[in-house]
Symmetry: C2
Subunit: 97 residues, 2 copies
């Protein structure tokens, strides 16, 4: 299934910037960065549980947030992209404009 | 249906920062800001077409990107949130942890 991970990590302090780097670094292990704070991950429930557990441990729950969006298996028509494609986005079937 | 709008707007120049403000300002008219560059909009296809047209006109296609995710009508179990809830997120049915 396609799982979208979006995050806001407060970068006002060095600790925050460290958390941001950690979150991004962890997400890279599970999916493709499609925007600065947005990753698309094709994974099963077990992997999803795993990354969720890891990310929740990294963030400061009073400062940061993470959201997970479950787009299922038939995601090809559920995503549209406009503009620059900085991050070598090539998620199969995504409509590029 | 729930439409997720995520964007990356280059803020390296004053023009970029202006575009960022414009994109955010436009998105506010259509939905709820759930993270810095992530909006959740409950809208029909006509409204979606409208906001898409507006946003695509604002961005610089060589610098910025916008993505649309279509989560359909049964979105309540498709979103999970962890951590801080800065933006008064109260999208009905979203699981908060």
């Amino acid at each position: 299934m396609l799982v979208l991970i979006t995050y806001d990590v407060s970068t006002e302090t060095p600790e925050g910037r460290k958390r941001l780097r950690k979150v991004a670094k962890e997400c890279v292990n599970y999916g493709k960065r499609v925007q600065n704070s947005v990753f698309e991950c094709i994974m099963d429930s077990a992997k999803c549980f795993e990354v969720k557990e890891k990310l929740v441990k990294i963030i400061d729950k009073d400062e940061d947030s993470i959201r997970f969006y479950y787009l299922g298996n038939n995601y090809k028509t559920k995503v549209e992209h406009f503009g620059v494609n900085n991050n070598n986005v090539d998620v199969e079937g995504v409509l590029l404009f």
